[in-house]
Assembly symmetry: C2
Homo-oligomer: 396 residues x 2
């Protein structure tokens, strides 16, 4: 019915879009720190933002546009979140856009997106020096993805080509940043998804949030939520091709893979774990228990120590506030049965096998509650010394 | 009206009680690991237990006694929580108590309390060897307090003498264990409070839970909750003296001081911080925000790094789901104003002062929301490398 093929070079594949990252002097190591994405034609845009009450100035600025507005420009910066900066933070964005439009008059309804430290005004003068470096016809996904990195240890960019039965095709591509503060409420992550599919705006709005629920909102690095979390989906429609089911599958695939990259890049993490809770009374309860596991400090440190301490798994489920009982609970580490009513304590053999599972770079902890039919999988990582190092002196 | 005086030697001061800790071979370093508290007469007992669904066997055993039962004996052990052990775990307790009563026939309605690793059956034979070491007339609060320690780095015991206007007096004393897993829902802590006040059972039941709400339930080390959390209050009534208000104040004082000891002993922590949230719409909202701060990994690592990164404080409040806005929020570190609408960014001077505050062993972070009249203070600690070390290989 349709085929999804991975392509290199991320955003560069998507017809009608241009992008570039440059160094404006904010990252001391000389890396890119300001970037843009633009399109020739005005694009529909769908968005999902943080649930944090203190939304950063760029988000407030976005939300002042009328519903259903179209745009042809996104400006991005790293190192300063422009959050907790009040009306002044929004004025700074407007000053920047004033300068930008003087230089590039075709810009219409520009969007800003920022990541970095909270609580400082933007350095508008310095930031606008980036504009002199912008090449409006650049297609440089790598440089763009690198510009939005903060504590990320690797660039996150993906592209899929979606081939339909009639040999027409479209692209969906995305770049993403995030490593710390990634949480069930998609904390401190930015994700920009571009497509040339001829997708109606209504479908964009309908499909984006559910895709995020099972990707960015299902991953946890440290359980904190940020002021700046943003996912934007822009469509140029220039391929002329579209197929709703194919687009949805490609969208879910790209958001899921990016969210797993975030977990893999969890600050100082050494392994990715899928916490699957099944047999729950409701999806909400399965989700609550799965996220309790992926957020538990004691579980995360046991993962780091590669200690098959399933008691912490059980205890965390018991504390999560869901319906469960110890008679029907069954816990597996991958395919190793490690707890059930009948096999209550680890024998030496099972413990050895479970310890071997925990040495893998990624594995699954599966808790069957034996109460109902619903399930949810959350993704998490371990917490080790590097997390402490990175976060104890992030600003300095 | 009344005077509260601290005394040394914890439980030993309370008339009518005896206690001892012995080494039965569970702690490899030879420290005490089994203990008892007993009384000559039957005592009223009030209790508060974990909200974890998977209550440990000792708690289930306790709850099978009829409401309002009296007791004269508590048996305690460390290194094995006897949790997730099903009916077998309760049978093990009954076997132990059978042996104990053979040796000491006066024991009536004994209570057990356990702390340690989850998921293993008790070694009943080994544990009962402790009974040969018990001296029923011992008054040894130190040995008792040391026997219940697991990851604790110091013993927790306190006693107050409460002098009333008519020169009558009573005592309240407590021992407590807990370091890791201390959380808003009093995870993995045991606390035994003894009094010789002539207190009615109804007052015991009325006063215990509110005292815990503002002490053990207001402290957080890592946000996890346990299967074994227990607070027991026993009264011998042997002083003959009682004054409700005085007792309540002494009870609140002793639980508050013990809970702060738990935070100070937070696994690998280097400082204690009081997170005061005021000006909230309701106490529940103030509590929610204060506990969000004390549980935030990013806040905890910033404390460890002594980085006055108030943006993380603001962001955590914004993510906590309470009513607040950035226009009325004011943040102080002790008396250093570090955020308000007008003083939005840290100037170098304020930042220097705030960094100096953070070097203290304990300090206050005060967030005035400017919305209402209610407040709550939660207590937390920093998270550093030692936490990771301790918890990565707790079992081994």
């Amino acid at each position: 019915m349709f085929t999804i093929l991975p392509l290199k070079n991320g955003l560069d594949n998507v017809a009608g879009f241009f992008c570039q990252g440059v160094h404006a002097g904010f990252k001391p190591n000389g890396n890119n720190d300001v970037a843009f994405i633009r399109s020739n034609e005005l694009c529909d845009v769908s968005s999902v933002f943080t649930t944090n009450v203190f939304q950063a100035a760029p988000i407030k600025h976005f939300l002042r546009y009328p519903k259903g507005f179209q745009t042809n420009f996104i400006l991005m910066n790293a190192k300063n979140a422009n959050a907790m900066t009040s009306e002044k933070g929004i004025e700074d964005i407007e000053t920047l856009f004033g300068k930008l439009k003087t230089k590039f008059p075709s810009i219409h309804n520009p969007i800003m997106s920022s990541t970095g430290v909270i609580g400082y005004r933007l350095n508008v003068e310095k930031l606008s020096t980036a504009f002199d470096l912008f090449d409006f016809n650049a297609k440089d996904s790598h440089a763009t993805a690198s510009a939005i990195m903060t504590t990320d240890s690797f660039k996150k960019e993906l592209c899929f080509k979606v081939l339909l039965d009639d040999d027409s095709f479209f692209h969906i591509a995305a770049i993403c940043k995030g490593a710390g503060m990634i949480n069930p409420a998609m904390a401190t992550m930015l994700c920009f998804i571009l497509t040339d599919a001829n997708i109606p705006k209504a479908d964009m709005d309908e499909l984006l949030l559910p895709a995020i629920e099972h990707s960015f909102n299902a991953v946890s690095v440290d359980g904190d939520t940020s002021t700046n979390d943003t996912v934007l989906l822009l469509s140029s429609k220039q391929s002329g091709a579209y197929h709703k089911e194919a687009f949805n599958e490609a969208l879910r695939l790209i958001t899921k893979e990016l969210s797993l990259m975030l977990v893999r890049d969890g600050e100082g993490s050494t392994k990715v774990v899928a916490f699957e809770v099944s047999g729950a009374k409701s999806v909400a309860e399965a989700e609550r228990a799965a996220k309790a596991l992926s957020n538990s400090l004691l579980v995360k440190t046991a993962l780091f120590g590669e200690d098959p301490n399933w008691g912490r798994i059980a205890s965390t489920i018991g504390a999560s506030g869901i319906t469960c009982n110890e008679e029907s609970l069954v816990i597996h580490y991958d395919d190793v049965l490690i707890y059930s009513k009948d096999q209550r304590s680890l024998d030496a053999e099972a413990e050895k096998k479970a310890a071997a599972v925990m040495k893998k770079e990624s594995f699954r902890i599966h808790c069957e509650l034996g109460i109902g039919e619903e399930s949810f999988t959350a993704y998490g990582c371990d917490l080790g010394h590097k997390y402490v190092e990175i976060n104890a002196d992030y600003r300095t």
